[in-house]
Symmetry: C3
């Protein structure tokens, strides 16, 4: 594994999951592995879980951590090759990536989708440029179209709570007042396809994810039908991929409530957080005993620590 | 002690003071007590002393530290139960508190008063919600109405400099161009009531603190009379409690100057800082040998380190 | 060395360079020297290299680090003596410097020039006030008129790459869309004067640096002539010192390109970064094998680590 940009960087997902379960069991087993190693964390966007869990994971490995809010701590970076930089950007990613590589041993980057131009977002210019110009491993802390650390944490959560070998996992769209990226959902789909689960995605018409992520997956536009017999219900809003970045309708009928959960196989409720209560999910569901969202967020330490360990052991 | 929200969480103030004096004498006596433990610090508001002294105290105990500026690093948190979160808040304190509890071992939170609605501020919704939903100890880094870490540092300062068993301590209102919370003054009153001092509070009419804090305390509206024979003069501005959050008058006559200090018993001058020079206090007083404001600020490391130790030793 | 404000704080530049080359060779040679010591870093302005390299250097020495963005994390500081602080500044540097000195062992400060009033900037009020009121060593992380950590890193870079005892080093002005301070250039001039190099400065008419920095140095207004036989070309924009803070003309003809580099003695290309590509320097030069800008930035860890070591060893 040279970088951790997407599931495609992982040679063997089952093997990585096994390592993650070990990390979960004994988080301090490699407490000096990262001695005199530094984790850099660059944020183009806000963060709570990612920011804190990444630092915690580094501490568990004995690493030092440096965080940088690009734009407020620093300045805007240019990502176009050959740009004549006489406008707003003060530094090219070429220099930033190469320089930071001389200061840190692993570099995590968060950069959300702009949701204005689909091609721009799906080209993943920022992360790909860092990967191209950095000389240390790059970890995706949520890019325009992917959030693999979340997916690995989700996989750990499912592994912990599954009651059968091949559980039915339903990823369901849910309403939200603001237009959100497809990153969490895209990643979840591509990780679940490599896991031992039966994946069903349910969303209203017009909200189908990009075909490269849903290929071979059952997409069901009837939410209740999708929920039948589900072992895990994963709720998440995303804006339209077809009408890119748009909110097509408020669809309050897609909010996850107890009635919908009733047709499942006593499913665990999952969400990556932050979650809009009583918009995405009713209090009665997220506050129920079947909700595993807090443990799921706790597994974010596990997922990044597992990835960091891989890089440190190389 | 389960949390450190107010003096009422402290079983024995004298005992805690004794421990604090030990920390002051030997700050590195427990340099490995916090190994593999993490202190989380969440700031809704600006901070200089609290931010730096809390980190220093954690380092003295061998703890790791993670800071988060909620709102800029993260996003706005909802604190109302049952809210339909389709507006500005992106995450409920329920999730934030529970999730962060899985990442850190002790969690400090700073959230100032809004000074718009007295009931809202005095309900302490933010801190109380964190206490309710967190599963780790919560430390008050200054809330709407209280600043107990400051008060404990003040107590250490008085203990260090007192020349008699029961010194006269005068908390005096002073002018300020902006409306400030009552938190430092409220806390100081409730801590001094449990300490071995004679407490007198002096402020202009209309600036009396909330009765629950001044019960049993001499409140004197003649500043000079209050200063007579004082061993310690503690200056602090606060906005009106009765005309909530208002500045009733500029009252430049209440500025602490050498003339006023002359009627004291060679009193030490105290202030929690930051202080507006030549508004709250004249240069001649804060720059005098009797000023202990720098040492008092230094004792902020002592107070939070003492509190952290209590939680780590449990 | 009591502080590290300018080259004049350094007793023996050659001796310091020798120590820096040792740090470069073996960065972990003093990995426990800073145990239980804390580095404070205060930023009035944005930073990428300085922020990250300073933390990395501290980690290499086993120090803890606390960073503070004054103004957003904290509040505005007053620097005038005797000020009646009833306006925008909430705390005087007197208190801030003295208080922070009780929390940290070495304090770095970055505060750029305002470029509005030359006397104000060249008085270096902020840094000088910190030096006056702090009780710990102050490190200049780039002040209004100086950037000595950059210059020491530059000196290390030249020492590493020089092919003759006394190389010809050309500091050349280059165009830039925004008005920039003279700090990097001033410092570079005063450090090179104490190093074993032949220094030539080239800039358009009207852009001569302050005479106290260029005294004894060849200033050449014909860029190409200056480049002849150069072993090192150091590009940097600065706004006018005479017409203070002004951009006199765009001067695109001063951009460093391959044609200009062709008349040098196979010169190494240097820049302190961030750099505006194809404005300050053409891609063909900064991407060439002779460009040492990334290594130069990497030497920023070396320079601050060398300085920190000096203070820790005292």
């Amino acid at each position: 594994m040279e970088n951790f940009f997407s599931v495609n960087d992982v040679e063997d997902v089952q093997e990585l999951l096994k390592k993650a379960m070990e990390v979960k069991k004994n988080p301090l087993a490699n407490a000096t592995l990262g001695k005199h190693k530094t984790l850099g964390l660059i944020f183009y966007n806000s963060s709570l879980r990612t920011r804190i869990s990444s630092q915690k994971a580094a501490f568990n490995l004995g690493m030092d951590v440096i965080t940088l809010n690009i734009g407020s701590d620093g300045w805007q970076l240019e990502s176009k090759d050959g740009a004549i930089m006489d406008q707003g950007t003060a530094e090219h990613i070429k220099e930033a990536a190469a320089v930071i590589s001389t200061y840190v041993d692993v570099l995590g980057i968060r950069c959300f989708a702009g949701l204005e131009d689909r091609e721009t977002d799906y080209n993943e210019e920022v992360l790909q440029n860092f990967i191209k110009h950095a000389t240390v491993p790059i970890v995706n802390l949520e890019s325009s179209t992917l959030h693999p650390l979340q997916s690995l944490a989700d996989l750990v959560t499912i592994e912990t709570h599954k009651k059968k070998d091949r559980p039915k996992v339903v990823l369901t769209w849910a309403p939200h007042p603001r237009a959100l990226p497809q990153a969490v959902s895209n990643s979840f789909a591509e990780w679940m396809k490599k896991a031992d689960v039966e994946l069903v995605i349910t969303n209203p018409e017009g909200y189908d994810l990009a075909p490269q992520f849903t290929e071979g997956v059952t997409v069901e536009h009837d939410q209740k039908k999708a929920f039948e017999g589900a072992d895990f219900v994963y709720a998440k809003n995303w804006s339209s991929y077809d009408s890119y970045g748009q909110i097509l309708s408020a669809n309050p009928s897609w909010t996850i409530d107890a009635d919908k959960m009733a047709v499942t196989n006593d499913a665990k409720f999952m969400h990556c957080l932050p979650v809009r209560r009583n918009v995405v999910v009713a209090d009665e569901v997220i506050d129920s005993e079947n909700s595993v969202v807090i443990e799921q967020a706790g597994n974010r330490v596990v997922s990044i620590q597992t990835v960091l360990q891989e890089f440190l052991k190389k």
